[in-house]
């Protein structure tokens, strides 16, 4: 049975696209057939994060009725499939995003997971993504404005009949004054699916010669490990802790002598 999940936030810049890309790969590593759809028809950039920006047929063409959905599916990294959105502003004005639900339904029997990267805000194309998905996963930041926007997104998703399954808190630095995981959960009345630490490796992933999600480029980084955990939570797979505990000074000293 396919799970169609919209990744939404309300606020811009919370890491929706980064979560979609990395979570898709995490799910693929768990043996799931995954399709990612860039449902942000106005400000598409999932293809940039996946390093797949040269795609001739896009979601725009499908929404305009000028191409079939399966013609817009591309092979992504680590076995995922991907439907990019077009970068053309002209086409964006003409597309009927309300057709998204029908397109997703057509493809649902081929995948275990379909992740929709929704736009920021609560405008029409966001509503289309939320409505096309049976479930919504909200991503937010540990600040009150981001949580307020997440709240509104939750209400809109529920209004459209999408089940809001949980929240992911991103850019966590553990500073005083941040909204804590417990507070985020209690304010939003949602379980926390993941707490992604602020990790320079995520930012560095965009700055490489060949851009690739952090989960591929630096899979042992704290953020990459958290993406994998979120994937495990979604599939109900047991989480295996791979992070090594930092050895103390004496342990490191002893290990030097042991090596000799």
């Amino acid at each position: 049975m396919v799970r169609i999940i919209a990744i939404a936030s309300g606020k811009g810049g919370t890491g929706k696209t980064t979560l979609t890309a990395n979570l898709g790969i995490a799910l693929s590593r768990l043996g799931k057939k995954v399709l990612l759809i860039d449902a942000d028809v106005a400000m598409a950039n999932l293809s940039l994060i996946l390093g797949m920006q040269s795609s001739p047929i896009t979601l725009h063409d499908v929404l305009l009725g000028e191409a079939q959905a399966h013609d817009a599916i591309y092979d992504g990294p680590e076995g995922i499939h991907f439907i990019p959105s077009g970068l053309s502003l002209d086409n964006y004005k003409r597309v009927d995003s309300e057709r998204l639900g029908g397109i997703v339904s057509q493809l649902s029997d081929k995948y275990d997971f379909i992740l929709l990267d929704a736009a920021a805000g609560i405008e029409k194309n966001v509503l289309s993504a939320l409505s096309a998905a049976q479930e919504t996963l909200i991503i937010t930041m540990p600040t009150s404005p981001a949580i307020a926007d997440a709240l509104k997104t939750k209400l809109v998703a529920q209004r459209l009949g999408s089940k809001v399954i949980g929240v992911v808190v991103n850019f966590v630095m553990g500073e005083k004054g941040e909204i804590t995981k417990q507070e985020a959960s209690s304010i939003l009345e949602l379980p926390v699916y993941g707490v992604i630490p602020f990790d320079q490796e995520v930012r560095k992933s965009f700055m490489q010669q060949k851009v690739s999600p952090v989960i591929i480029r630096k899979s042992d980084s704290p953020a990459a490990q958290e993406f994998q955990k979120i994937g495990s939570r979604l599939t109900g797979t047991k989480i295996v802790e791979t992070q090594q505990t930092k050895a103390g000074f004496f342990s490191r000293l002893i290990s030097i002598f042991k090596k000799k």
């Binding site: 509503l127 009150s144 307020a148 709240l151 209400l155 209004r159 009949g161 005083k176 004054g177």
Partner: protein, 163 residues
């Protein structure tokens, strides 16, 4: 301990900005959510009112194609029901693949559309997308069906008591 001492010292001297957040923000957000908690009750009329608030509309009427009212959030607006149904039928006959009719009148939007052999007439302060209208119609249809089965059970109980 040393770290705490240095932190306290530097904050007293104003060297480090105090990163504290009052509870007021969290309380405000909790209050916001509590105002938008839409829990349906056993009372059908009350549920219609909850549905209005949840879907941000001012009123709605559901009719059959003959104009008879199935349910309304505002009493029994027979004339609006007949007029709306007639108007939608006319436009559907002229433009068969039209999905909805939107009319703006004195700052309000009236939206007419069909779903499952019923006509929905919705009034709101701003126009709703087809997606939003369908979401309202689906939830309304579920409420109507639930109410039908409740009424049926009540009738059966009354009939059994009479017998």
């Amino acid at each position: 301990m040393m770290k705490n001492f240095l932190r306290k010292l530097s904050s007293k001297k104003g060297l480090v900005e105090k990163e504290t957040r009052g509870n007021s923000q969290v309380e405000f957000l909790r209050d916001f959510l509590s105002k938008h908690n839409y829990v349906f009750s056993q009372d059908f009329e009350e549920n219609l009112s909850i549905l209005k608030r949840k879907h941000l509309v001012d009123s709605f009427v559901v009719t059959n194609f003959d104009g008879s009212v199935v349910v309304s959030s505002e009493g029994s607006p027979q004339s609006e029901a007949i007029m709306g149904t007639a108007m939608l039928s006319y436009i559907k006959s002229e433009i068969p693949d039209s999905e909805a009719v939107l009319i703006k009148k004195e700052g309000s939007w009236f939206m007419l559309f069909t779903l499952d052999k019923k006509v929905f007439i919705v009034e709101a302060g701003s126009e709703l997308s087809n997606i939003e209208l369908k979401a309202l119609a689906l939830e309304l249809s579920i409420l109507i069906e639930e109410n039908k089965s409740v009424l049926k059970k009540e009738k059966e109980l009354v009939d059994n008591n009479i017998e």
